[in-house]
Point group: none
C-alpha cells in the first residue's frame, strides 16, 4: 500500500501559507509502514480538483486530503469527489444535527450555507469532527481508499488519530513499521562522502541509505521497514555501525545533533571548558553553543571583536600585531584564541577572523578566506579556510563557525 | 499561462523536511502575474518522476522543479526528463568545465560521479549555477516550458532570479502584476496591533491588508494587482502611509528588515557606535547585527559572558556585585552595559542577563525573566522583561535580543 496526500487551499498553492499538514501526515503514515509517494497541493478550481483526484486514485492506494470542507463557495472537495465517483451528494441527518449542536454550544447562528457541510457523496461515511463544524469523509473511489479531513491543523490531527487511524488498522493497512535513523557528518563534502559510500547508497539495498546536505553538515539517512519498530531498528544497526567505523571522527551526532552538540558532549565528557573569540563569525559560534540548554559548566563565554580596538581591549591582542599582520591573519587568529583562553581561564580557546563578504575582499584576502585559531595549554595553532568568494555571507559565517567548533571537538578526541 | 511547481526529495515526501522552495516560487510567479495551479512533491522513484512530469506538462504551461540535480544515485531528474522527452542525455562541456572550476576554487577533489551533473537531455539549455556544482535545466517538454533548479534554497533563489526570470520575461509570460509590500512592527503583540487596524484588514478592501507574526515581529502585508508594477505600488502607497502614521515608532522596517537593520540604520545616521554584553542571549544580539553586511563602522564588538567570572574578566563587573545581587539582576545588567560601552569606547552599550530555561528558574527568578541594560554617556538604565516560563528557550533568547536592539534604536530616535 502506498499513499498520496492532497492539500487544498488557494493560500497554499499561491505561497501565502505554508502547508504543515502534509509533512505531519507523511510522518504518521511512515510510522505505520505506509510510504507516501506524492504530495499534491491545489487551489479552488473545480477542474483542478477533478484532475488531481483522478491522478491520485490512479497511482496511490490511500489518498488523504486536507482542506476544502468549509461552508464557502471555495470549498469544492465534496462536489469534486461526488463527480469523480459519479454519485450524487446526499444530506446526512446525523452530521446536520452535529453541526447545529456545535453552533448552539458556541452561541453562534448557523447560516443556511453551513448545511452544505452535511452533504456527502452517496455511499461515503461521515467522520465526526469533535472540535469544529466540518465533518470528514471516508470512502472508496476506484481502487483507492479516501479520507478527507479539515485543513485546520488541530482538527485534522485529532480526527486523523481518532477516526482515520482505527480505520486504517481495520483495513490491515497499518501492518509494517518504518523506522528512520539519521547520522550527521561534518568535515568533508557530499560528493566526497558519497564516493566512500557507493555500496551503501546503492538502490534496492536493505536497509535503504540516502545522503542529504544541510548547512554544510552531511547526513546519512537509514530507513528500514519491518513488522515491529524493534525489528526495524535491528535491521538498521549493522549499517549504522558500518557508517561509524568507516567515517570515524567525521560523525558528529544523530537526529538533530550537529557539531555544537558534539563539542558540548566532548567538553562535558572530558571536564573541559571553552572560550570563544570571534571576528568574522560575529557571535554565531557563541550562539550555536548557547542555543543548547545547560551548557554553562562547559562554555565560559567569549568576545565578539568586530573592530581592531576591541581585539586589543577584550582579548589583549597587541595593536602592533594587528598593524603589522592585518586583522585577517594567522597571527591575529592565534592571539585571539590565546587571549580568550587565558583571560577566561578556559581549557580551550577558539577563534575566527576572516572576510565574510560580500564586500571587503582583496586579491590577497578574498571573500571566503577565514583563519581559525585553537589554543590549549599545549600551545596555539591556526588553520586557513578558503570557501570561495561566490558563497553568501551567511554560509561563510556558518561554515567557519562549524569548522572552528569541529576542530575543538577533534582536539578533545585526541585527533587534530 | 499557468504553472506547476514540483519539489523532489524523499525527505520532503516522507515529512522529514519542510519544502519552503515551492511557496517561495509561488510568490515569485504570483508577483509576475503567473498563477500557480499545483504543487507536487515526490521522492526518488524513477516511475514516480515520469508520472509526475507527464501529469504536469499535461495541465500546466510552465513547470518549475527543484531538487534531484545532485551527483548521487537518488538524483533522477535529468534521467526522467530525458525519458519523458524521448531524447538521450548528452554531456555539456561548458557545464563540465564550470563544475571542475568550482571544485578547484574550493580546493576540493572532483569525483567521477560529479560528471553526471554535466549531463542534459539533448536540446535542453544548461542554466549556470554561480554558487554550487549543480547546473539547472531549461527546456521544452510537450507544450510546456520546464525549468529545473537545485534544491538548496540559496542556489535555487539566485538562479531563479538570474536565469529563469529573464527567460520568463522574454517569453512574454508576465502579464498583470501583483505587488506586495511588507511593513514590520516590533514592540506590541499581534492582537493589540490588529485591534488598531480592523479597518485595514477587513475583507475585500483594496489594497488588501493582512497581518502575520514571525519571531516576535508583526508584519502588515499590503497586496495590490494592476497592469504595471508602478500602478500597483501607487495603489499601495496611501495604505502604507496610514500604517506609518498610525503605528509611528513601532515600525522597524520593510521586507526582510527587522529590528537589527533598523538599529544599524539609526547608528549610521547618527554616527554612533554600539557595544554588546550578553549573558542569557549568548551571542544572538551580536549575530543578528553581524548577519548584516558592512556594519563594522557601527558595531565595535561585545562580550558573551556566560560565566560569572567572564563578566568580571571581560566587562569589569565587580565580583562582589554579582555575589550580592546575583547574576540575574538589574545591577549586573547595568554594570555589563556600562562595562561594554566604556571598555570598547562605544556611544551605546546594551546588555542582557536572565533565565532562558528550560531549567534554572526559581520562584524569585523564573524562566523567562530577563533584565536589559542600556548605557550611554548620559547614564545607564535597566528594564525588566517577563516572558513567562512556558516560552521555549529560543523564543526567550530572540525576544530579549530584539527588545534590547529596539531599546537602543528608540534611544537613538530620541524616544525612550
Amino acid at each position: 500500500m502506498r499513499a498520496e496526500i492532497i492539500a487544498i487551499g488557494s493560500e497554499l498553492v499561491s505561497g501565502q501559507g505554508l502547508d504543515t499538514n502534509s509533512p505531519w501526515l507523511s510522518q504518521q503514515l511512515g510510522a505505520l509502514g505506509i510510504p507516501v509517494a506524492f504530495h499534491t497541493t491545489l487551489g479552488d478550481d473545480l477542474e483542478d480538483h477533478r484532475s488531481a483526484f483522478r491522478a491520485a486514485i490512479d497511482r496511490a492506494d490511500l489518498v488523504i486530503m486536507t482542506g476544502g470542507l468549509g461552508p464557502t463557495q471555495d470549498d469544492l472537495t465534496r462536489e469534486a469527489l461526488a463527480e469523480v465517483a459519479g454519485v450524487p451528494l446526499v444530506e446526512d441527518l446525523a452530521s446536520l444535527e452535529a453541526i447545529a449542536a456545535m453552533f448552539a454550544r458556541r452561541h453562534r447562528v448557523m447560516t443556511e450555507r453551513n448545511r452544505v457541510q452535511a452533504l456527502f457523496p452517496r455511499g461515503a461515511e461521515p467522520l465526526p469532527n469533535p472540535i469544529g463544524t466540518a465533518p470528514g469523509i471516508w470512502m472508496r473511489l476506484g481502487r483507492a481508499t479516501i479520507a478527507c479531513l479539515p485543513g485546520v491543523p488541530s482538527e485534522m490531527k485529532r480526527m486523523f488519530q481518532e477516526q482515520v487511524l482505527p480505520r486504517l488498522r481495520e483495513l490491515g493497512a497499518a501492518g509494517r513499521v518504518i523506522v528512520h535513523r539519521k547520522i550527521n557528518l561534518f568535515g568533508k563534502g557530499e560528493s566526497e562522502i558519497e564516493a566512500q559510500a557507493m555500496d551503501l547508497t546503492v538502490r534496492g539495498r536493505v536497509p535503504e541509505v540516502g545522503i542529504t546536505a544541510h548547512d554544510a553538515t552531511i547526513s546519512f539517512r537509514i530507513t528500514a521497514e519491518a513488522a515491529t519498530a524493534d525489528e526495524a531498528r535491528r535491521l538498521i544497526e549493522p549499517t549504522a555501525e558500518l557508517i561509524y567505523e568507516r567515517f570515524g571522527s567525521l560523525v558528529v551526532g544523530e537526529d538533530s545533533d550537529d557539531v555544537a552538540e558534539a563539542l558540548v558532549a566532548q567538553l562535558t565528557r572530558t571536564g573541559s571548558t571553552l572560550a570563544t573569540a570571534e571576528s568574522c563569525t560575529g557571535g554565531l559560534i557563541a550562539q550555536l553553543i548557547t542555543a543548547i540548554a545547560g551548557v554553562s559548566s562547559a562554555y565560559l563565554g567569549g568576545a565578539v571583536t568586530y573592530s581592531n580596538a576591541s581585539k586589543t581591549a577584550l582579548l589583549g591582542v597587541p595593536a602592533e600585531l594587528i598593524a603589522a599582520c592585518g586583522a585577517v591573519s594567522p597571527e591575529v587568529a592565534a592571539a585571539m584564541a590565546e587571549g580568550a583562553r587565558t583571560r577566561l581561564g578556559a581549557s580551550l580557546g577558539i577563534s575566527t577572523t576572516g572576510v565574510a563578504g560580500p564586500t571587503g575582499g582583496t586579491p590577497e584576502k578574498p571573500v571566503g578566506l577565514v583563519y581559525l585559531g585553537l589554543s590549549t595549554a599545549d600551545g596555539t595553532q591556526t588553520r586557513r579556510l578558503d570557501m570561495g568568494p561566490e558563497r553568501p555571507r551567511d554560509f561563510i559565517q556558518l561554515l567557519a563557525s562549524k569548522a572552528a567548533l569541529n576542530w575543538a571537538r577533534l582536539a578533545l578526541l585526541g585527533e587534530r
